[in-house]
Symmetry: C3
Subunit: 151 residues, 3 copies
Amino acid sequence: MSVYDRLSKLQISLPTTAAPSAASVPFVRTGNLLFVSGHIAKKDGKPWVGQLGSQMTTVEGQEAARTIAIDLMGTLHSALGDLNRIKRIVKLMVLVNCEPTFTEQHLVANRASELFVEVFGEIGIQARSAFGVVQIPFGSCVEIDLVAEVR
Amino acid sequence: MSVYDRLSKLQISLPTTAAPSAASVPFVRTGNLLFVSGHIAKKDGKPWVGQLGSQMTTVEGQEAARTIAIDLMGTLHSALGDLNRIKRIVKLMVLVNCEPTFTEQHLVANRASELFVEVFGEIGIQARSAFGVVQIPFGSCVEIDLVAEVR
Amino acid sequence: MSVYDRLSKLQISLPTTAAPSAASVPFVRTGNLLFVSGHIAKKDGKPWVGQLGSQMTTVEGQEAARTIAIDLMGTLHSALGDLNRIKRIVKLMVLVNCEPTFTEQHLVANRASELFVEVFGEIGIQARSAFGVVQIPFGSCVEIDLVAEVR
């Protein structure tokens, strides 16, 4: 199955990447590497606000992380025109907006990691760093950036 | 206008990069990529101490971020001898030392992003991740690292 | 002295990298770059739990950081089969799980940075970002990821 077939089967439609601000952009390609900006979790088009460990559960955080993975795939599609040009998802950095008592950042991150594998198969398996941050722009609950290798 | 002309016009003089510690350095080049260490905000040569959301305003944080951008350019100049050898500012990571209630990390980061565009033009437009951290070395209010592509 | 001689002299034996989860792995190689996942501090095989500035001292954090550096070298050995294939330790990102009052993240990070230099010599000197985070998976006190250049 191709990447787009898998997206179809998962009933995922890729969003269009928001217009970039004047001074930064959703991605920059250098050589065969694509550096993708931090994408914040959104719900109904607005920042998905909340902190894990108090206002949100791990399960909700996982859903937010999965949503970001979809947005990141939308950006990759915008960047390359064709997701089949992805050679490898190299590295995810997953930031979880949380209380100092919340220690399940890896479980939140897993839902994003897993979706990359569901969609891209073996080349979707990434290196990853996940940790808790004190806050994220607009109060969003999760933020993820990534590095991908392209053909 | 060249990069140095733009710096002149903005009345910016680039600082000399501080002598590296024994075990880490301000930058490492690998192939055409330059990985630049996290630079903390300084004022009058000392760490610019403060947390956003309590001790410092967004506007002050923006000024601190702009100051770091200048220091980063100083490091790029040291690394390359000539800023015209920069092919692209690829990625900024902007860390804001803040309270859990502060959600304007992107606004703080904008001032650094914008200065790269003012000085480098189109090749200064970067991918970026910005988020809030609980503390930064020496209590500094903002820290930024970057990846650049060089010729 | 070779890298392995230095490890011997320091009485360091490299651990085997834990089996990867289904959706992420300890490292991904792309071209000549190796992106290594965030490794959390462990003690006796379990997460080394604690926050700097309250439950742990800087000296304890340094010991934890050194332990992670050893684990990272174990991963590099697993990735390459031979640590002599490392051309350069390019960049460390050092995350310290700490209170908002703790400002010695750089001192914690130094112990990891220094071990890379002790073992790899000049090519072990890295670019680095260190900062404080509100929490780390499993409550671990320090987390470090890295980028290395390989032959």
